[in-house]
């Protein structure tokens, strides 16, 4: 029994994901097993997923970032404003779009740098600093959008959201090729990169050390403040990336509504994936699975026609179960 529980706790997110996939296949086989249904699942998971990968590092340093949802709005607003500014000029549209993407990433990284700097050098709790960011970044976005939506004047911007690589030989029911969106490639690419950073770079090792015992890390000649600053900056840049795709898909940014509660979803994906909120322990593939699991649950609830008002309860229960299972494994392996 202990072994079963231990295994479940260690790999719970995978077990749950596989179980739900099986349920989906048996219950909604026709709908679920369509190539574009699966593509859509990944597509929906990708925005939160990209952010959650960065959040994994932050949480591993025993930190938290509550500002990511508001930052999505700010980065999206900046991206579209940049695009609109450039679109009147002589430059090609694709160059403008690239610059808009750069602006989103840059603003995101800058905001993350600011968070990290105050946390590391001002010695303010991450919760407080990023709570301020949650209020502040949204507010700046609202000012930029005059309280409403900012629309792009470049129709081809949507190609970033809906473009991608068509998989040869796979078509949907209508006979059209299924396109794997750029955001999905970005999500998986970011996850691979992060996984690599965690396991094969000094930075990854230092993140674990800082999260597990910050003082011992500092005494071991690690520049713990730099590690923290980098971690929040990296997350900020990823938020910019997610915001860029999000804005492209809509070809607009609703400054008051976009990114709402993204921080909670991203944190939930990380925690469900088995990363410890106390820091020092985490894994990227868990976060990826966590983001997919959350998206799948949302999709299933739609299929089951669960009242949207109730969906939050289901998500809450899933998060609690994930954390309780982790607690269980801790009790087992503490010698």
């Amino acid at each position: 029994m202990k072994k079963v529980l231990g295994f479940l706790a260690e790999n719970g997110v995978l077990v749950a994901l596989i179980a739900l996939v099986i349920v989906c296949i048996t219950q909604f086989g026709d709908t679920f097993l369509q190539p574009d249904a699966i593509r859509n699942l990944f597509s929906q998971a990708s925005y939160i997923g990209i952010i959650a990968v960065g959040m994994t590092f932050v949480i591993m340093t025993a930190g938290i970032d509550l500002s990511v949802g508001s930052l999505v709005a700010l980065c999206g607003a900046v991206a579209i404003l940049t695009l609109n500014k450039l679109s009147g000029g002589d430059g090609s549209e694709s160059v403008s779009i690239l610059l808009a993407g750069g602006a989103a990433l840059g603003i995101g990284a800058l905001a993350g740098l600011f968070n990290g700097f105050v946390i590391a050098f001002g010695r303010v709790a991450p919760f407080v600093v990023t709570l301020a960011g949650l209020a502040g970044f949204r507010s700046i976005a609202l000012v930029l959008g005059q309280g409403g939506e900012i629309r792009s004047q470049t129709p081809s911007f949507q190609d970033i959201g809906f473009g991608g690589v068509a998989i040869p030989g796979i078509a949907n029911q209508a006979g059209q090729p299924v396109v794997v969106y750029w955001s999905i490639f970005a999500f998986l690419g970011v996850a691979l990169l992060a996984s690599f950073m965690l396991n094969y770079t000094r930075y990854g090792r230092y993140v674990i050390a800082v999260g597990a015992n910050e003082r011992a890390a500092r005494y071991s000649a690690i520049d713990t403040r730099a590690i923290k600053v980098w971690t929040y900056t990296f997350l900020g840049a990823l938020v910019g990336l997610a915001a860029f795709f999000n804005a492209a898909r809509m070809n607009s940014v609703g400054t008051g509504s976009v990114g709402l509660f993204y921080e909670l979803d991203a944190i939930a994906a990380v925690v469900i994936g088995g990363t410890s909120l106390r820091g020092g322990k985490g894994r990227i593939w868990g976060t990826v699975a966590g983001a997919l699991l959350l998206t799948l649950i949302t999709t299933m609830m739609t299929w089951y026609r669960v009242d949207t008002n109730w969906q939050g309860v289901v998500r809450g229960v899933v998060i609690l179960i994930a954390v309780l299972l982790q607690r269980g494994s801790k009790a087992n392996d503490s010698n």
Binding site: R202, N213, Y219, D223
Partner: protein, 495 residues
């Protein structure tokens, strides 16, 4: 009659067998010592008796009945209480509140504060404590807190007390009164199971003592049946006559590191030292004299407001342990759990943590890391089953060796060792001494900080003494006796 007995106790961890078929009995009203090297299984035995851990196999019998403790609460209910090495109390509560924490007397669901204070007063009196039950715990000395822990155990009607290194943090006088208390508890029929490294204490206070080595019970002796060196031999399984390596004459002195006029607010008022190549310099002083803080300021772990640091006669700006490492200065912390090691990380990862740059090109070369760690394992005789297991699974002495290995990895020119043998058994102690000796031999400047004067005198050619945050004197060669150091450390004027 045997009050408490263990039969064929086995405790198997992934990496080691901590206890191997140990059978032991504790009599009513006796003081029973349990001694052994670090990693011998003493603490594991205590944890099983206190209900913290469950044995892999074997049984615990209380008054002839087999018992199973699933938790500390279960053990307490059977009258077994543990007095922790790291005291388990809440500083912000009063003494009485601590004594009854979790078992507060109530009346109609409300705290019966006056009754609580009254009972706490009686209990405190019975352990010889003179402070008020209403005093805030945080205002007490460590010895006082220990008395509160004992009173707390008695409040649960504990008939068997487990004491793990109870004197480690006490002064001589406090130790003496603790022994008086143990005598009086004994006369009231309380059984005391006493763990210690200090053989002289065990000899003084225990009626019987059991020696563990590598998880196996070697022997149970009556008081006076063996002298200290015989006990020590039984513990390590070999003769430990020569503790310290022979001192070496220094020929030419080449000053490497010089720290002058350091001030660390609240800890160090005015401290200076210089250390030569290939020398073992002792930094002595009473606990609280600012030794550790001075050392931490040298490596930049603690901010100083004034003072100059010179390496090879060049002034250096060192503001973090990272700067210090670059300048070739390493500090092996006294606090393994807090600042020395990252406990959840593996043995290998701890070994290479300070020198990880060497293994990143730019990607981490894990096989090289492993090879380096295996090398230290051989060189320092680190006993670890699985080098990939968390370092928390190692015994204190082995953790200490990894802590030192982590810094030797960086090939330091100056190595500061703060209490390197604290909580380390005799065998490992000797190995650490000879390691320090051979480091000095090869030219490393070593600074040894220690509370054990015999250790300072045995190892160091030159000793600098600190008192109340200031370096107050230097003793050389044969002048550096325990008495002379103590006089300086305590501020006694020589007649």
């Amino acid at each position: 009659m045997h009050r408490l007995e263990v039969r064929d106790l086995v405790m198997q961890f992934p990496a080691v067998t901590a206890l191997d078929r140990v059978s032991l009995s504790f009599k009513l009203g006796e003081v029973h010592g349990v001694i052994g090297e670090n990693g011998a299984g003493k603490s594991t035995l205590m944890k099983i008796l206190a209900g913290v851990q469950q044995p892999t196999s074997g049984s615990v019998l209380l008054d002839g009945q087999e018992v199973r403790f699933g938790s500390v609460r279960d053990a307490l209910r059977s009258g077994i209480a543990m007095i922790h090495q790291e005291l388990d109390l809440v500083d912000t509560l009063s003494v009485a509140e601590n004594v009854f924490l979790g078992g507060e007397p109530t009346r109609w669901g409300m705290l019966a504060r006056s009754r609580m204070d009254e009972r706490a007063k009686q209990l405190l009196k019975s352990v010889g404590a003179e402070f008020s039950p209403r005093a805030a715990l945080g205002t007490l000395s460590i010895a006082g807190k220990q008395l509160v822990e004992i009173a707390k155990a008695l409040s649960h009607d504990a008939r068997i007390l487990l004491m793990d290194e109870p004197t480690a943090v006490l002064t001589d006088q406090e130790t003496a009164s603790l022994f008086d208390l143990i005598e009086s508890l004994k006369s009231r029929g309380v059984t005391v199971i006493y763990i210690s490294h200090r053989l002289s204490e065990v000899e003084r206070v225990c009626d019987r003592l059991s020696i563990l080595r590598d998880g196996v019970l070697v022997k149970t002796l009556l008081r006076g049946e063996a002298n200290q060196s015989e006990m020590a031999s039984l513990m390590v399984g070999r003769d430990v006559s020569e503790m310290y390596p022979s001192k070496r004459e220094r020929n030419e002195a080449k000053l490497i590191l010089e720290a002058s006029e350091f001030i660390v607010p609240g800890f160090v008022k005015s401290a200076s030292l210089g250390v030569n190549e290939g020398e073992i310099l002792g930094l002595a002083g009473l606990i609280g004299s600012g030794r550790t803080e001075f050392a931490e300021a040298i490596v930049g772990a603690r901010a100083r407001t004034s003072g100059e640091l010179r390496v090879d006669d060049i002034s250096k700006r060192i503001r973090s342990p990272k700067d210090a490492m670059r300048a070739g200065i390493a500090y092996v912390s006294e606090d393994r759990k807090g600042t020395g090691l990252v406990l959840p990380m593996s043995v290998i990862e701890n070994c290479t943590l300070a020198n990880l740059r060497e293994y990143a090109r730019p990607l981490l070369q894990k096989s090289n890391e492993r090879a380096a760690a295996e090398g230290w394992k051989r060189k320092l005789d680190i006993r670890a089953g699985d080098m990939r297991a968390p370092i928390a699974t190692l015994s204190g002495g082995n953790q200490q060796k990894v802590s030192i290995a982590k810094w030797l990895e960086t090939s330091p020119r100056v190595l500061i060792l703060d209490e390197p043998t604290r909580g380390v058994d005799i065998g490992a102690k000797r190995e650490i001494y000879s390691l320090i000796h051979s480091l000095a031999e090869s030219g490393t400047a070593c600074i040894l900080i220690s509370s054990e004067l015999t250790e300072i005198v045995g190892m160091c050619g030159r000793v600098i003494v600190m008192r109340e945050g200031a370096t107050v004197g230097e003793l050389n060669g044969t002048d550096a006796t325990e008495q002379a150091i103590m006089r300086l450390a305590a501020g006694v004027t020589v007649a």
